[in-house]
């Protein structure tokens, strides 16, 4: 809180304003994106960049004390559990049968790729050692 920390003050304000901007951007994406699988990307922006920048700004503002230790613990915990929770939500949605929508002009190409992928394993029985190494 002393006047000698001018640069630290400026850095912390930049981090806090950037984190707030990322939070609002992620929330707007959560509103504006058309379907579930793209909304997960907006949530990941909010979970990683917004949280880390805001915690960094608060840590720079709080100085080197027990507050910083708590902020580091909170940041590590959110950094681990945020992607884990997002993965759990996506996995539960996938298991329940929700699939990403495919554009109608891409549907034929995706179907051909899937058919080629399912036809691939029985066709590769010619060379057992040299097949999957590529």
């Amino acid at each position: 809180m002393t006047a000698s920390g001018g640069i630290v003050d400026v850095l912390s304000w930049i981090a806090i304003v950037g984190g707030s901007a990322f939070l609002v951007i992620g929330a707007v994406g959560l509103i504006r994106f058309p379907e579930f699988w793209s909304r997960l990307h907006a949530i990941s922006v909010l979970d990683s960049a917004g949280v880390l920048l805001l915690l960094l700004g608060m840590g720079l503002q709080g100085g080197l004390s027990l507050v910083t230790v708590k902020l580091v613990i909170l940041g590590l915990f959110l950094l681990i559990t945020g992607p884990t929770a997002t993965h759990a939500v996506a996995n539960a949605a996938f298991v329940s049968g929700l699939r990403p929508p495919i554009r109608s002009e891409d549907r034929a190409a995706v179907a051909a790729t899937a058919a080629a992928a399912t036809r691939e394993p029985p066709a590769s029985d010619g060379g057992p050692a040299s097949g999957p190494s590529g």
């Binding site: 304000w13 806090i16 304003v17 984190g19 707030s20 901007a21 939070l23 609002v24 992620g26 929330a27 707007v28 959560l30 509103i31 579930f36 909304r39 997960l40 949530i43 909010l46 979970d47 917004g50 949280v51 805001l54 915690l55 700004g57 608060m58 503002q61 709080g62 507050v67 708590k70 902020l71 613990i73 909170l74 915990f77 959110l78 559990t81 945020g82 884990t84 929770a85 997002t86 759990a88 939500v89 996506a90 996995n91 539960a92 949605a93 996938f94 298991v95 329940s96 929700l98 699939r99 899937a114 992928a117 399912t118």
Partner: protein, 116 residues
Amino acid sequence: MFVAAALAIGVAMVLTFIRLCTGPTLYDRVAAVNAFGTETVLLIGVIGFLTGRPDFLDIALLYALINFVGTIAVLKFFRYRALGDPVMTRTPDATPDARKNAVEAAAVAGAGSRPS
């Protein structure tokens, strides 16, 4: 400046709450609840700094723990329709069906990118 951060977090919470209320699918709502909890953790920390009492970070840490466990518990309940062990909590006559469902869910989860 912490006031601006708190206002931005408030705006983000309002937008997330709109998605939470209007989410078409169940998983939109679960993801929105998770994001709302993350924003609440940040808001508690910012309010702690705003009022000059950074001890609020303990509450924020506790809220982050509860948020994660709650999200995982809700997802587990929606997949297995039970919060305990998915096989043992069923009634005896429904046990084979529950075991079959659990095995199928595990197989689908392990298959990953298999085309439907």
